[in-house]
């Protein structure tokens, strides 16, 4: 409980900075609105103010501060606006509604989970191959590394177009992009984990004349579990990013990525920010779920503290 105060203090500081940042960001629009309503502002005329700095304008027009936190399409929406939008689009809408973030979140989540499952499965299989075959170690690992140096934004549209041309649409292309991002941390972590037992442990199994399969099942695999979970936490977050990126190039109408895209088309900054926050919350929940599974598994294995 002692950590509550510092945590709240950090949140308060972030909120304070955020509200302050809204002043210079939104003051131009606030002054234009005020002038239209017949209020005197300094200096007069939108053209005159265009090149002035937001900070200076905010300081000379303290009367318009309130409006910087209450606009429809602000450059930077205030925290309470984002929260209100979040509340409105989650709790107040039916989950089947196209305006519900729960609806869009589920679309993205399903692609994330499918992609995560594919990526994790692929990562583990590749890691097992890499650890057991020198040829695979030499041939697969460089490609795995190379795959991650390509910007996902560049390759995502190609994946979608190629798959579309062979008739694959909907969930799968997004899941594949998501798997493309999430398999890598799993490969790296699992290879490290499967190789983590020391030479003595392998010698010991040799004295028992254990087969390769037994060495894998009794030593390598259990030894890799802590490494696997560390990778899964990175992998699930990467999966979510992949699913969202996969929604962008198609101009998709559903999913959190689609909310970001339509928000930017129509200048709906509040919608963009609330979709961003929904994504962050979703990522946090997914990572927390994996952390929970990790704690339970390690405890059952006697590795927990």
């Amino acid at each position: 409980m002692r950590s509550v105060v510092p945590v709240l203090a950090v949140v308060a500081v972030i909120l304070a900075i955020w509200y302050l940042a809204c002043l210079p960001m939104n003051i131009h629009t606030a002054l234009t609105n005020a002038e239209r309503a017949g209020v005197a502002v300094q200096p007069e005329g939108a053209a005159e103010r265009r090149d002035r700095s937001g900070i200076g304008l905010a300081l000379t027009n303290p009367g318009q501060w309130a409006d910087t936190w209450a606009q429809d399409k602000p450059r930077l929406p205030a925290p309470h606006q984002v929260l209100a939008e979040l509340w409105d689009t989650t709790a107040m809408k039916k989950v089947t509604s196209k305006r519900s973030l729960v609806f869009h979140g589920w679309i993205t989540l399903s692609a994330t989970l499918l992609g995560f499952a594919i990526g994790t499965g692929m990562g583990i299989v590749l890691a097992i191959g890499i650890v057991h075959s020198r040829a695979m170690d030499m041939s697969v690992m460089p490609w795995a590394i190379a795959s991650q140096t390509i910007p996902i934004l560049a390759i995502a549209p190609m994946i979608i177009v190629v798959l579309n041309s062979v008739g694959v649409q909907g969930l799968l292309p997004k899941a594949i992009i998501s798997a493309y991002l999430s398999f890598f941390p799993v490969v790296v972590g699992m290879v490290k984990g499967l190789r983590s037992p020391d030479a003595m442990q392998f010698d010991l199994l040799r004295t028992y004349n254990a087969s390769r399969g037994q060495t894998f099942a009794k030593l390598r695999l259990p030894a890799s579990v802590p490494y696997l979970f560390a990778s899964l936490k990175v992998g699930i977050a990467a999966s979510l990013v992949g699913a969202i990126v996969g929604e962008l190039p198609t101009g998709a109408v559903r999913g959190l990525g689609a909310r970001l895209l339509t928000g930017s088309y129509y200048g709906q900054t509040i919608q963009i920010w609330s979709a961003l926050f929904a994504t962050a919350v979703l990522a946090a929940v997914l990572v927390a779920l994996i952390a929970g599974a990790e704690r339970m598994t390690l405890k059952r294995m006697g590795l927990g503290r």
């Binding site: 003595m200 010991l204 040799r206 028992y208 004349n209 037994q214 030894a223 579990v225 006697g302």
Partner: protein, 260 residues
């Protein structure tokens, strides 16, 4: 010794190829170990005592000479699971309980579940760890962990027990205690034991034969038959006989060092 020869080494050579050139780890090692013997290998580091033990266990391949274990090649003996090996570190799996760790070789060798349970129970009693089967390794002291690792090596009842400085990392008091326990265990099981150490009192106290080795190249400089009785209380270490053997071991070690 009238018993059958269990381990027979003739002119054994082993050369490691390293980046700095060839290193001769063993040179012309000739030694017979009879059934029921307790043979200690003592010498400074680099004298090849561990390497020799690893050759017996087929964890290293000699480059010259012949070596048989139970009349087979070491490789065949390893496949026949002719020996239990105890390493310097206990090396228990942290994700297995003590009983689970001891069960490991039994699972690999395909013992039935009932037999596994029976054997685990027996060896736990043998190393005085009855009641600790359900604990995880981190809940036990270093000495207890090493005892569990000895139980693991004993569980499948091989006739030969190879021990590579098993008590090297333990403090003197625990070590004394475990030495005493090991002698009792040896008396009860009648196993042939190969024991690597760099402690003179430990070697003299435990062994029926002490093999003194010296480095560069690793070779045997002296083999001492111990006249001590089989029944050895800890204070036998203060008797003149004990001190005399210890003296001879020390002389042998010094002679080996005169080369460099």
């Amino acid at each position: 010794m009238s018993q059958a020869t269990v381990i027979e080494a003739k002119n054994l050579d082993l050369t490691f190829q390293t980046n700095d050139g060839a290193v001769q780890a063993l040179s012309g090692v000739t030694l017979d170990i009879a059934a029921g013997d307790f043979v200690s290998f003592i010498g400074p580091s680099g004298c090849g005592k561990t390497t020799f033990l690893r050759c017996i266990a087929a964890l290293e391949q000699p480059t010259g000479g012949t070596l048989t274990v139970n009349g087979m090649t070491p490789e065949e003996a390893r496949k026949a699971r002719a020996y239990g090996y105890v390493f310097q570190a206990a090396g228990l799996y942290p994700w297995r309980t003590i009983a689970g760790n001891i069960r490991l070789p039994l699972e690999i060798m395909g013992f039935s579940r009932a037999e596994q349970a029976e054997r685990v129970k027996n060896v736990l009693e043998l190393v005085d760890l009855a009641g600790f089967g359900g604990k995880f390794p981190w809940q036990l002291s270093g000495g207890m962990q090493q005892r569990a690792s000895i139980a693991r090596a004993l569980s499948f009842d091989a006739d030969i027990l190879l021990m590579d400085e098993p008590f090297g990392a333990l403090d003197e008091i625990v070590r004394d205690h475990l030495n005493e326990e090991l002698l009792k265990l040896w008396a009860r099981t009648g196993k042939t034991i190969g024991f690597v150490t760099h402690s003179i009192p430990e070697a003299v106290y435990l062994s029926t034969r002490i093999v003194v080795m010296s480095p560069r190249p690793g070779r045997i400089t002296d083999v001492i038959e111990s006249p001590l009785p089989k029944d050895r209380p800890l204070d036998i270490r203060d008797t003149p006989e004990f001190l005399e053997i210890a003296h001879r071991v020390r002389e042998g070690l010094r002679a080996g060092h005169a080369y460099d």
